[in-house]
């Protein structure tokens, strides 16, 4: 069962736990006759310690919104605070450094480097941050064990199943302990069982009291894993749902 939040704008009430605060975010692409408005004034709060699902039809602006929240796209107007930092004012190197330190990414197509093993892939954020390779690999092994890939960490992506690749991607997203995890359709390329496994893993491993997890999805089979479900349509937040309990969540074991 899902309960509809009284706050349709997607805003929450406890500011001390807010990881992301979006106010009147507008994003336009192109100019003149080719101008397209992807976001038409989005108000959204994302709470730390919660998994927020961003759902809606294709083209409704979900991906644009998380790209802006993750600092990969600039908003045309509006205000955006992520982990206490004003991202709108942040530019260039400071934005890159902010992403490197604070944000973890899980992509629909995994985007693992095919020429690196699982452990090497998982260690990339630490290597980018300048950590010595050996120590980075040690940390990566630890997180891979946590996602159930202890015995497959020396395999290359093409030797792993889709679900296993996504688990490597999750390990890579978490290895540098970011405070915001952004997942784009993490279950879209997976079968139902693998999708459930990945979502369960995200809740079990990724979710912490000081970390917010945003998952963009249109897979209604995983809606039950969210603490809040933000519905979007045509560039605006239309509805916020809060599942009444976590009892519906499918308990699955990790293979």
């Amino acid at each position: 069962m899902l309960a509809v939040s009284p706050s349709p704008a997607g805003t929450a009430s406890s500011p001390e736990t807010l990881a992301v605060v979006c106010r009147q975010i507008i994003k336009e692409f192109g100019t003149g006759e080719t101008k397209t408005v992807a976001l038409r004034g989005v108000d959204l709060d994302v709470l730390a310690g919660q998994m927020t699902l961003l759902v809606g039809q294709s083209g409704c602006g979900k991906t644009t919104l998380i790209s802006i929240i993750a600092g990969l796209l600039n908003a045309t107007s509006g205000s955006l605070t992520v982990l206490g930092q004003d991202l709108i004012k942040m530019t260039g190197a400071s934005l890159v450094q902010f992403r490197q330190k604070n944000i973890g990414f899980v992509f629909q197509q995994y985007n693992l480097l095919p020429t690196l093993t699982a452990v090497e892939n998982a260690a990339i954020p630490l290597i980018i941050a300048g950590k010595p390779r050996r120590r980075a690999f040690e940390d990566a092994k630890e997180i891979l064990s946590a996602v159930g890939l202890a015995k497959r960490m020396h395999l290359f992506p093409n030797q792993l199943s889709g679900g296993q690749q996504q688990r490597v991607a999750i390990a890579r997203a978490l290895v540098h302990e970011p405070r915001l995890l952004v997942c784009d359709e993490p279950t879209a390329a997976l079968d139902a069982h693998s999708g459930q496994t990945v979502m369960e893993l995200l809740r079990r491993v990724a979710l912490q009291s000081d970390r917010a997890v945003i998952v963009v999805t249109h897979d209604n089979r995983v809606f039950s894993f969210g603490d809040r479900i933000i519905h979007m349509d045509d560039g605006v937040v239309t509805k916020v749902e809060i599942p009444d309990s976590t009892s519906d969540r499918n308990a699955v074991s990790i293979h």
Partner: protein, 379 residues
């Protein structure tokens, strides 16, 4: 990050190999053609290079290159000797003659006539015989490649008799000499013998070889000779380049080799460029992911340049190695003797490979630098 760049590059073995091989092929083609071109052009002036004991070449002031010099009256020799700054000056003869072998075969030869007393311009290294053997009656020396050309497959042997311009000569020595442009045998003889081969000619000296006094500027001595004698006087280096310039401007050799070298450059650039560009395109999502994860553009540039440098370095090394092996074997063949990989060719081709790899990287860099990191969210 260097580690990451190298793992990305070498992880796909087939692409890595084709990248390296494309540079290897381009290097091989260009260095081989440049070396052969330089070798052949240098051959046009090989007799100038082989004269080590004289610094100045004096000739008729209309001479364009070494093979085209009219005979000078012998009085010019005395006039040159009288120019202040000249230490010594001797006569030198160069012409083409015909040698007829005992079996009836004949070969055109390059004949060099040395001053009897000083032997200036004589070969530096003897394979068989002594330099003094040239003083014997009817004596001639032949260069090693020329011997193999005149008596193919036969062991080196002095004492052979044959005719030059219908005059009997005796082979008294086999020497080493730089290969001439036309790969004709080079015969050395004394000036008095030349007079025997060409009895109808009043003058047989077409060059005067001279040395300036110690401490004298060779160029100033040349100017003094020109002013005083009305002859053309050049340093060895000056005459070498004058001859080369003639061949460069008057033959189709530079155009032919230029086309091949340019094709090597274009093919190398196209193949390497396309492969590297495809390699980047295939990794574009990964580069996007790295950008999203916080890799700066500067780091991406250094990663791509490192990949390009490794590919070009290995490809260039393999190409040069293959060229060196090629010339090691071809040097044993008489027509290719003396043509080898030299440092100028290696440096020039290295520069060309650098251009190839910079052009190649430029397209890839452009693609990566303008890549929106948000591309990673597009399925």
């Amino acid at each position: 990050m260097n580690w990451l760049a190298l793992r990305m590059l070498t992880g796909d073995k087939s692409k890595y190999l084709s990248l390296v091989l494309s540079i290897t092929f381009a290097t091989l083609l260009m260095s081989q053609q440049v070396s052969i071109f330089m070798g052949i052009v240098t051959r046009s002036a090989s007799q100038i290079i082989d004269v080590r004991d004289a610094d100045l070449w004096i000739m008729d002031n209309k001479v364009r290159y070494i093979d085209e010099a009219p005979y000078l009256p012998s009085s010019h020799l005395q006039r040159v000797r009288g120019v202040p700054g000249v230490d010594w000056a001797v006569r030198f003869h160069k012409s083409n003659m015909t040698a007829r072998l005992p079996d009836g075969n004949f070969r055109n030869v390059v004949m060099l006539g040395l001053d009897d007393a000083t032997m200036v311009g004589s070969p530096r290294r003897m394979v068989l015989g002594e330099l003094s053997d040239l003083n014997r009656a009817n004596a001639v020396f032949i260069d090693k490649a020329g011997y193999e050309y005149m008596w193919p497959g036969e062991p080196f042997q002095v004492g052979r008799e044959f005719h030059v311009n219908d005059r009997r000569v005796v082979l008294t020595g086999i020497c080493k000499a730089s290969a001439p442009f036309t790969t004709l045998p080079i015969l050395y003889s004394r000036f008095t013998e030349i007079e025997r081969f060409l009895p109808a000619n009043r003058n047989l000296m077409n060059y005067i070889l001279a040395k300036p006094l110690p401490g004298q500027d060779p160029l100033q001595v040349c100017r003094a000779i020109e002013k005083q004698c009305g002859l053309m006087a050049l340093t060895q280096d000056g005459f070498f380049w004058k001859t080369i310039d003639y061949f460069m401007s008057s033959t189709g050799i530079p155009i032919n080799f230029g086309i091949t070298i340019t094709l090597g450059f274009i093919v190398g650039a196209a193949v390497a460029g396309q492969t590297f560009y495809l390699f980047t395109l295939e990794n574009l999502k990964q580069f996007g992911a790295l950008k999203a994860m916080g890799v700066t553009n500067a780091r991406l540039i250094s990663m791509i340049l490192l990949q390009a440098s490794v590919v070009s370095g290995i490809g260039y090394g393999l190409g040069m190695g293959t060229t060196a092996i090629f010339f090691t074997f071809t040097n044993r063949i008489a027509p290719m003797a003396g043509i080898h990989l030299n440092t100028i060719a290696a440096a020039g081709v290295g520069f060309a490979v650098l251009i190839i790899i910079l052009l190649t990287s430029l397209f890839s860099l452009r693609k990566v630098l303008f890549l929106e990191p948000a591309v990673v969210f597009r399925g």
